[in-house]
């Protein structure tokens, strides 16, 4: 969609950095124009009307003016501040992960309302759900589908035969599951348990309202995370910074606080 000289759109702040003395450079995922960068002038001064609105992960109604290089934020009206998320290190880390993936998988200035809505809903869930790991897995599978990398979880990508309820292999290179019998040494893949396959299929095909009630064992959560991180990092051809941060947080938390939960409300969600 072509942008007018002055335009209005709902947007979520996915990156922000200081710019000059008092300005902020924002990367916005807008509902109507896709991902774009904009300057919020004076946003670091406490007296500015924009100050409280140009914080990471916030969802707001923006008025923007087209600039020569970067668009300029002229007005912001907050819709959803994500207050729990932005004061909790674990939730904020998951939000950083979600936003980093989204940023890596989407091109600039391409309108994709479904992706915008996915981010909007996911940040909302990270703000309220006590099962942030499940929120992350659901997001990963949805995002992969929306950007054209939906993993094939029902048929063997080598033979085309239906996948049985047993331990399988998953290959990002081939685009999905491979039955053990059809795996050749030339294919890069990792093992995935029958239980994990079941959950991944469930996440891929059901609406969040159904998925939200899923209670999984901790070891299954760990496996699902490993599988998805493996899959995604292969596609991106690079590590994911916020995923590294999450691992590190776990290590440091275990070594520093033996019995102290890291998060205010749900001790096991890390």
């Amino acid at each position: 969609m072509k942008r007018e000289r002055s335009y209005r759109t709902e947007a979520i702040i996915i990156r922000r950095s200081d710019f000059g003395e008092a300005d902020r450079l924002l990367t916005l995922l807008t509902r109507d124009y896709g991902k774009l960068r904009a300057i919020a002038k004076g946003a670091r001064k406490p007296q500015s009307r924009k100050t409280g609105h140009v914080e990471l992960f916030m969802r707001s109604q923006f008025m923007l003016a087209k600039g020569r290089n970067l668009d300029i934020v002229t007005q912001v009206e907050l819709i959803e501040p994500h207050r729990v998320l932005s004061a909790d290190l674990v939730r904020a880390t998951y939000a950083a992960y979600v936003v980093e993936l989204l940023d890596s998988f989407t091109p600039e200035e391409e309108r994709q309302v479904a992706i915008y809505e996915l981010l909007r809903d996911t940040l909302g869930r990270l703000d309220t759900s006590d099962n942030v790991r499940l929120v992350a897995r659901y997001f990963e599978l949805r995002l992969l589908s929306l950007v054209g990398y939906q993993p094939q979880l029902f048929y063997c990508v080598v033979s085309g035969e239906p996948i049985e309820q047993a331990d399988q292999y998953i290959s990002p290179e081939e685009g999905g599951l491979i039955a053990a019998a059809h795996l050749s040494p030339a294919i890069r893949a990792r093992q995935v348990s029958a239980g994990a396959v079941k959950v991944l299929r469930f996440l891929q095909t059901r609406a969040w309202d159904t998925v939200a009630h899923l209670q999984l064992r901790d070891d299954l959560h760990r496996e699902l995370e490993m599988v998805m991180h493996y899959y995604i990092q292969y596609l991106l051809e690079k590590g994911v910074k916020s995923a590294e941060f999450l691992y590190r947080l776990r290590r440091e938390t275990i070594s520093l606080t033996q019995n102290q939960p890291l998060s205010n409300d749900s001790p096991n969600m890390l």
Partner: protein, 202 residues
């Protein structure tokens, strides 16, 4: 440009360019200003100041603020309340709080804030030092004075958890209307927090 200019000039331009907020153009302008020498002695004064900066400053082993002496002036001042610690992100925040003349305790400088986005974790900051200091010392109150940003807030909530099993009282700076600020022009997040932090008058 690189072929024409003498090496020392290029080097200074390069070094200036490493400073935050300084691009190649500004770096060249600053370098040539010093080179022309219109301001007699500026280059020499500057280089002396830089040398002194690295030679005569260190970090206070108690509060981790920059100081000429260790422990720093604040930490060794017996007139100050040594039982109240104010936790800040940067040394400049100490300067700002001192300017308010409302605080008579001591400080703890974290040297940053937690940031999942930038990959700054607890071990990158003076957080372990703060916890150790509070556990071993005789403190009444820890004031969390990190910035009112996402990073500042996550850092404060993380510290709050880490300090939960100590006997010390933990407080957070109030967030409210800026002095001289008009309610009509205050953003709703700030206004919401000002309402939450309202105080009993009667």
């Amino acid at each position: 440009m690189s072929n024409v200019l003498p090496k020392p000039v290029l080097r200074l331009i390069n070094e200036f360019g490493r400073l935050p907020g300084i691009g190649p153009k500004t770096a060249s302008r600053l370098t040539f200003y010093l080179l022309r020498g219109n301001d007699a002695g500026l280059a020499a004064d500057l280089s002396a100041a830089l040398a002194e900066l690295s030679e005569n400053t260190q970090y206070c082993t108690a509060c981790h603020n920059i100081t000429e002496q260790n422990p720093c002036e604040v930490c060794s001042d017996t007139e100050r309340d040594q039982q109240v610690i104010c936790v800040v992100e940067e040394p400049l925040d100490v300067v700002a709080i001192e300017r308010s003349r409302m605080f008579g305790g001591v400080y703890h400088v974290l040297h940053g804030a937690l940031s999942p986005v930038e990959g700054i974790g607890p071990d990158d900051l003076k957080i372990g030092e703060l916890i150790g200091r509070v556990q071993q010392g005789d403190f009444r109150e820890v004031i969390l004075a990190t910035n009112a940003t996402l990073e500042g807030d996550t850092t404060a909530s993380y510290l709050q958890m880490r300090l939960a099993d100590t006997a010390v009282r933990v407080t957070r700076l109030a967030r409210g209307l800026p002095v001289g600020g008009d309610i009509e022009y205050t953003d709703e997040v700030t206004l919401g927090r000002a309402l939450e932090g309202r105080r009993e008058l009667k």
